[in-house]
């Protein structure tokens, strides 16, 4: 009798430790997950999900930069981080900035896993495999560039304040230091160029990273780098592709009312299961009052549009007290992100109009005016005469104004002002605020990181 019970328990001693292996029905061990073409594709889909994070292209990345400029006002309900953005006094403790930094590196971490396991995949033909590699490299390069725009002195090729370049899956003990700005650009451009060579040019789905998007992003990157020749070259590739079309002034609202319009080059889609934060942060509902809106269109933006008679883009900003609760005045609301029920507003990562603006700026006041006027006319404005933009400074200002009119609330203004060195004159803040500080958390966790000058 005793023996029997003894044996039962002895039995459990030997066989039960095996019962301690539990498997999750929701999670997949990263080791061994990417093992064939199907799983590799799933991991690439995951890169887009990572771009959708609310701290990246799901909301914060774009709107935070707007909130830091004269396009928008924000803050005011005891959210210190939001107040800092609105007052343009961002510190290293800012939670929003901290989350943006992390979210972008999350995308990079996902991309690095794809690139690590990709070479061993055998059941895909080289065309498919190259395309997937191209998507991953391009997304990783875009993520690095987006970091550089926020946290690195992207206008100064001599600056050491670039960003940490992360090219392989990180271990906890890794503590990368910041590359120089020049090295950051070099990495971003070389990766983007490599991606352009890998992507299948017959794949034209604008909701995924595609060859046009890579060229468009390269145009943007070269413009930031002040390599105007290359910027114009790549913008021309996109403009000349014939796959996009600037819409007429009457139809132009379709960019924001429908998905994947003919003006979209790379548009990150959202749906009812994956909602974006744009509507909630900028519109929310008809009678919303000030504390319910994260980012309001500033009175300054209204004044800007008041001076542009006929500009149809003025219709995208609502300052009327009919629709707004008076507590919002004198500020207003952008109409780019409507859809209070669905909240599935896209992130317009690259739009076709930007290509004309890039090429105009890159070509300068002589050759560039045609592109600028083309867009102006499409948006209901009269053309500018060469006399009105006779100096390059006048022309740059005209381009910046056009960019502001076209791209407000799409996350460009802050970087445009920084690269044209106008942060101080336009926003009336100190020049060092052309970039955000490196988050304090990162400074604590990684002693190799140096803070941006001025912070």
């Amino acid at each position: 009798m005793k023996k029997i019970i003894f044996f039962i328990n002895l039995f459990s001693l030997f066989f039960l430790p095996a019962c301690l292996d539990e498997n999750s029905p929701n999670y997949l061990n990263v080791e061994g997950a990417i093992k064939d073409g199907a799983s590799l594709e799933a991991a690439v889909i995951g890169l887009y999900s990572a771009l959708q994070q609310s701290d990246y292209y799901g909301e914060s990345y774009l709107l935070t930069s707007e909130g830091h400029t004269d396009n928008a006002t924000t803050g005011g309900y005891q959210n210190l981080s939001l107040d800092q953005i609105g007052n343009r006094e961002v510190t290293g403790a800012n939670v929003i900035s901290e989350n943006i930094w992390t979210a972008i590196y999350r995308v990079i971490a996902n991309a690095n896993l794809v690139l690590k396991y990709l070479p061993a995949i055998e059941d895909l033909d080289s065309k498919q495999k190259n395309h997937l590699e191209g998507e991953a490299r391009a997304i990783r390069a875009m993520a690095h560039f987006d970091l550089l725009r926020y946290y690195g002195e992207h206008w100064n090729m001599a600056s050491s304040a670039g960003i940490p370049l992360v090219q392989v899956p990180q271990e906890i003990k890794d503590q990368p230091s910041r590359a120089t700005v020049a090295a950051s650009y070099q990495f971003i451009i070389s990766e983007m160029t490599k991606a352009a060579g890998l992507l299948d040019q017959s794949v034209k789905d604008k909701s995924f990273m595609n060859l046009h998007a890579v060229n468009a992003l390269l145009a943007r990157i070269y413009l930031y780098k002040a390599d105007n020749e290359k910027a114009a070259e790549y913008a021309t590739k996109v403009i000349g592709s014939g796959d996009f079309q600037i819409m007429d002034a009457t139809k132009f609202l379709d960019i924001y009312r429908s998905k994947l319009s003919s003006e979209s080059v790379f548009e990150l889609l959202f749906d009812s299961q994956n909602r974006s934060g744009y509507n909630g942060a900028t519109f929310s509902r008809e009678d919303a009052i000030r504390p319910e809106l994260g980012y309001m269109a500033s009175k300054n933006l209204q004044e800007f549009f008041n001076a542009r008679v006929g500009d149809v883009r003025n219709n995208l900003v609502d300052f009327s007290s009919d629709n707004n609760d008076v507590t919002i005045l004198p500020d207003g609301r952008t109409q780019k992100y409507r859809g209070e029920a669905s909240k599935d507003n896209s992130a317009y990562i690259v739009r076709f109009a930007e290509m004309y603006l890039i090429r105009a700026e890159a070509l300068g006041n002589q050759k560039g005016l045609a592109d600028l006027n083309f867009l102006r006319q499409k948006r209901g404005l009269s053309v500018l005469t060469p006399n009105q933009v006779s100096t390059s400074n006048d022309f740059i200002n005209a381009v910046l104004n056009e960019r502001r009119a076209e791209l407000n609330f799409e996350g460009h203004r802050y970087f445009d002002l920084a690269r044209s060195r106008k942060i101080k004159s336009v926003l009336n803040i100190e020049d060092f605020r052309s970039v955000f500080p490196i988050p304090n958390r990162e400074m604590i966790a990684n002693p190799n990181i140096k803070q941006n000058p001025g912070y």
């Binding site: 301690l20 929701n26 999670y27 999900s49 005011g76 992390t102 009052i289 029920a341 604590i444």
Partner: protein, 1026 residues
């Protein structure tokens, strides 16, 4: 799983088959040894005089011995006077031993067994069921507060059924073991009641506790295991202490039915007083006048483009002509009834005993619409199949329904909105519709709080069954084997419907959430018990194997767009969005042992050990070993102590040391995982976490010195404890470079020390026939300090979207508040001033420093019980010193006329009467700064908002009368009770004992963001026994 069943069934079958009756050799004596309360004495020695022949009693106090009829038996037991019987022809004996002293004879439940208090070597506090009976609270931990030294309980909110922050000797979240089943005690509702204005979750908001599923009146006793000697038998889950709850069981001989009912009314104990319309408008005008005066002196003060007309133009909605004067706290609160009905029945004979009870508890919240209802049924049954084999059944079912209060303790909640609402806004318009908050421009509001309360209908339904089938097989009087199979089955069903009228759902025509939670835990425990006494020395051995597996499944769905009528379920939605389905599981395998050696009642030794294997860790470091050792010396048994015997009737010194562990890191944290994601109609993988594969047990090395004493022949007794514990290998979220894609990782590292003293005294101050007076006092001093960390100085946020509120820093306690240091009001300007801590010339959040802490230094309780003839009266009070609260809601309710954003024709929120003490003119020495329309003249995350929350509270007063001749009943008692009668504190919020963020996180404890107010309760009760 299969093995668990197999093991148990095999045992049951074998045990029944192999139970022969004992063969008599000579005269067989059977008997039972009990104390004066008929409680069996376990391990009492029966010795045949003049021989070494003898036995000891089993866990029911039974013994069998074969002897000669002429023999004399000596029955002895530690702490009791020995008894001598002459056998004669009597073969069945019921022997009652008289205790030597009063307190030390109590039976105390310990892990996997029970012991006499006098034999205990560890630090265990014991509470009897009657001490906590009939308290008008839903969660039994609430009624333990202040009654047990070393145990501190904080409420996240006063909402019925709410979760609590329970802290044993500085360690948060103890293990609850109810009748041997380690219980899932956390919040299982998937329903977040904490959203920001965009509908995103911020913090967990109001949480529930599944410990509320236990009916407090079913409880026989509660034991709190505090040191290693007591707790280490629970190994890997004992690092934060263990709370053993034992429910009532049947008794042999006779039967007893009892019926209890109480009924009462609750109100907000300490309402916050707000300005009426006139005073608020006066404050706003004062704020504008102050700003105008500054503008006239220095126009650049408010910036370049400042338009001073906002300081002079009449404010649209702030004239008093409407004569509306709403007291919003009154609008959202009420006098709320509380009722409890309970019937129980206890009976038994020699073979079968049972206890059964049925109860219904209904607590309406002091905030409108909110309630908690609970229905319990219990059956505890014991049956002797034959002389060797015994069965025990424990079965409890609970159904609870909780109407949740929306966004409790978050800035869009009913209470938080009510705290800021303008008195010029009515709750309803004249046509009976809800007043639209947009029309009255108190910017703080996210909705009319009365509307939120009525039109957001959220319910959590809990269904739980806890059951154990236990078998006990006696091989001999010295050896028995026990095996049990237990299940904890818990379902939750959550619904939340936001009507189209609410600001939260008007954009999409109503929104509905449904969530399902299912937990199934299986537990199999097998223990072998041996005990033998030789030459007055007793050796007891325990060995065992236990296996547990928990499987949790969750699913939820969200729907939007609902037709009119009461069609509020997901199927009625126009769009069904955001469906989730997830599962998780863990398993534990443990080997345990305990050795007790009692040397002639003078020296007591205990050694325990437990080896635990958990699925939560990788294969290489899956098993942890947790040993402990303890020794106690009953000095009063030594001859040299005789001189002191007149003072101390008993005196025992105890010392223990050992290790306990903690595995509570959540499942699947040791592996880097992908989780599913989707984009544009396709599914994919996305990185979920970064894991440390070397993750292992957190350990708590505990050291304890204790002293148990009894004086004046047992009239006074108690204990004194010193403890020093060091938690190391802390399972903590550590900062890592975010270039990995993650900001933190769960890994081992860091140490937290808890040092403390506990004092406890029970005294019987009067014990006369007609009058008795008993006093219990306990006090705990504790010092908590972080000794090391992987990353020092990590900021923590009580709310995701607010600035950091807490910091983990070496040399400071866990739960330290972070913020600017407030330097008071400048008497000349009325501006609030802060310390430039980093001396960079700017005041910003880089100047943040440690400005307080949530945990108390000293706390305790005092109970007085008086009985005079048929009257009884008890008063229970408790106190806490050194605890602070970060009262963040004051940034809203003491905003001094702020307009929320300069240039607007609105104000932010109403103000409390506290701000009457504000700066008005140069030279004023005021607590509050200058009223200002444009600037927020306060520091939210600063020591201005950190308050001393020390208190003295009269927690409970109970007065009863028992009928002298109850007629058909065996007893009839009527009583009246007041809970939370009075509190002495300088704290400005509703209650100084709050902890935001669900109250389950000690690291971010002690934040008040308009937490649900605690109630004062008046009740009448009737207790019948027959």
């Amino acid at each position: 799983m299969k093995i668990i069943f197999l093991n148990t069934f095999a045992f049951f079958i074998l045990a029944v088959l192999f139970s022969p009756s004992l063969q008599a050799q000579s005269l067989e004596i059977k008997g039972k040894v009990t104390d004066t309360n008929q409680e069996p004495l376990i391990g009492a020695t029966i010795l045949v005089q003049g021989t070494e022949q003898g036995t000891i009693t089993d866990i029911n106090g039974n013994f069998q011995v074969k002897t000669d009829p002429k023999a004399t038996l000596i029955i002895s037991y530690t702490g009791f006077s020995s008894k001598i019987i002459v056998v004669g022809n009597q073969t069945v004996w019921n022997i009652m031993l008289e205790p030597e002293d009063l307190k030390l004879d109590e039976v105390v439940v310990i892990g996997y067994g029970s012991q006499r208090k006098s034999q205990i070597t560890g630090a265990i506090s014991s509470l009897k069921g009657k001490d906590i009976q009939d308290q008008p609270v839903s969660n039994l931990a609430n009624s333990m507060q202040g009654r047990v030294a070393g145990l501190n309980v904080m409420s996240a909110s006063g909402t019925p059924g709410a979760g609590l922050l329970v802290n044993v000797r500085g360690n948060n979240a103890p293990l609850y073991v109810v009748d041997g089943i380690p219980l899932l005690s956390e919040n299982n509702s998937g329903l977040s009641t904490s959203f920001d204005l965009q509908g995103q979750n911020v913090g967990s908001g109001q949480t529930l506790s599944s410990i509320s599923d236990i009916n407090p009146n079913d409880i026989e006793s509660i034991e709190v295991l505090k040191d290693a000697s007591a707790a280490a038998i629970y190994g890997a889950r004992a690092a934060n202490g263990v709370i053993l709850i034992t429910t009532k069981r049947g008794k042999s001989g006779g039967q007893e039915a009892s019926f209890n009912i109480y009924s009462g009314i609750q109100q907000i104990a300490r309402p916050i007083k707000f300005m009426d319309s006139k005073e608020m408008v006066g404050l706003i005008e004062e704020a504008r006048a102050n700003d105008l005066a500054i503008f006239k002196k220095d126009p650049s003060y408010f910036g370049d483009n400042f338009d001073p007309s906002v300081l002079t133009d009449p404010l649209d909605n702030f004239d008093l002509s409407s004569e509306v004067n709403t007291n919003w706290l009154n609008e959202v609160s009420r006098l709320a009834p509380i009722n409890n009905y309970e019937f129980s029945f206890r009976a038994g004979n020699e073979k079968t005993k049972y206890f059964t009870s049925l109860s219904y508890f209904d607590q309406q919240g002091v905030i409108i619409e909110n309630y908690y209802k609970r229905f319990n049924y219990r059956l505890n049954l014991d049956h002797e199949i034959n002389s060797r084999f015994k069965l025990g059944i424990t079965f409890n079912t609970t159904y609870s329904k909780n109407r949740r209060s929306f966004n409790d303790n978050t800035y869009t909640g009913i209470i938080t909105n009510a705290l800021g609402a303008s008195p010029l806004m009515p709750a309803y318009e004249e046509d009976g519709s809800y007043a639209g908050f947009e029309d009255y421009q108190a910017n703080w509001l996210s909705d009319n709080p009365v509307k939120s309360a009525k039109e957001i209908r959220a319910f959590t339904n809990g269904y739980r069954a806890l059951g154990t089938l236990a078998g006990e097989y006696k091989f001999s009087n010295k050896l028995y084997f026990k095996s049990s199979l237990s299940a904890d089955v818990l379902f939750n069903f959550d619904t939340q419907f936001k009507s189209p009228l609410t600001a939260d759902a008007e954009a999409f025509g109503g929104a509905s959430y449904e969530g399902n939670f299912r937990n199934v835990t299986w537990l199999n425990e097998n223990t072998l018990h041996y005990s033998d006494t030789r030459n007055g020395n007793t050796l007891s051995l325990l060995g065992g194997v236990t296996m547990q597996r928990t499987q949790i499944d969750r699913s939820s769905a969200l729907g939007q767009g609902f037709p009119p009528g009461a069609l509020e379920r997901i199927s009625s939605a126009a769009n069904i969005i955001n469906a989730t389905s997830e599962g998780t599981s863990f398993a534990l395998l443990s080997f345990l042992s305990r050795i007790n050696y009692d040397v002639k009642n003078r020296f007591l030794f205990t050694f325990t050990s437990r080896a635990d294997g958990s699925s939560r860790f990788s294969k290489n470091n899956r098993f942890g070993f947790f040993p402990s050792g303890a020794v106690a010396w009953r000095i009063s048994k030594e001859p040299f102590f005789n001189g002191l015997k007149q003072v101390f009737s008993d005196f025992k010194i105890r010392m223990s040391a050992g290790l306990t562990g903690d595995q509570e890191i959540g499942d699947f944290q040791n592996i880097t995982f992908y989780t599913a994601s989707r984009y544009a109609g396709r599914s994919g993988y996305q990185l979920r976490n970064l894991a440390d594969p070397d993750l292992t047990w957190q350990t708590n090395s505990m050291f304890n010195i204790g002293l148990d004493y009894e004086m004046a022949d047992g009239k006074i007794g108690g204990s004194l404890e010193f403890f020093n514990s060091l938690k190391s290998n802390l399972l903590s979220e550590d900062l890592i470079p975010a270039t990995t894609g993650f900001t933190s990782i769960t890994r081992n590292g860091g140490e937290v020390q808890n040092v403390g003293l506990e004092f406890n005294i029970n005294a019987s101050l009067a014990k006369k026939e007609k009058f008795t007076w008993d006093v219990n006092f306990n006090a705990t001093w504790i010092h908590n300090e972080i000794k090391s960390l992987n990353s020092d100085g990590v900021y923590l946020n009580a709310y995701d979207d607010l600035e950091a509120t807490h910091i983990l820093q070496i040399g400071h306690p866990v739960g330290s508040f972070l913020g600017l240091k407030y330097l008071g009001v400048d008497p000349e300007t009325g501006d609030v001033q802060f310390e430039d801590f980093n001396e960079d010339g700017n005041i910003d959040y880089d100047d943040a420093q440690i400005i307080g802490k949530a945990m108390p230094d000293l706390y305790g309780g005092l109970t007085n019980v008086f009985k005079w003839k048929n009257l009884d009266f008890s008063i229970f009070s408790r106190f806490s010193l050194g605890n602070q609260v970060y009262n963040l809601i004051r940034g809203t309710t003491e905003n001094l006329g702020w307009s929320n954003d300069g240039g607007l024709s609105s104000i932010y929120a109403n103000n409390t009467l506290n701000v009457r003490d504000r700066w008005k003119k140069p030279g004023d020495e005021a607590e509050y700064g200058r009223a200002s329309f444009i600037n927020l003249n306060l520091g939210l995350n600063s020591s201005q908002m950190v308050e001393n929350a020390s208190f003295f509270r009269i927690q409970n007063i109970n007065a009863g009368y028992s009928l002298p001749s109850p007629g058909k009943f065996s007893s009839v008692r009527i009583y009246a009770e007041v809970q939370n009668l009075w509190i002495l504190t300088s704290y400005k919020g509703f209650d100084p004992e709050v902890s935001s963020n669900g109250g389950l996180a000690d690291r971010t404890a002690g934040v008040d963001y308009g937490a649900y107010p605690s109630a004062r309760t008046f009740l009448m009760g009737l207790s019948l026994k027959f």
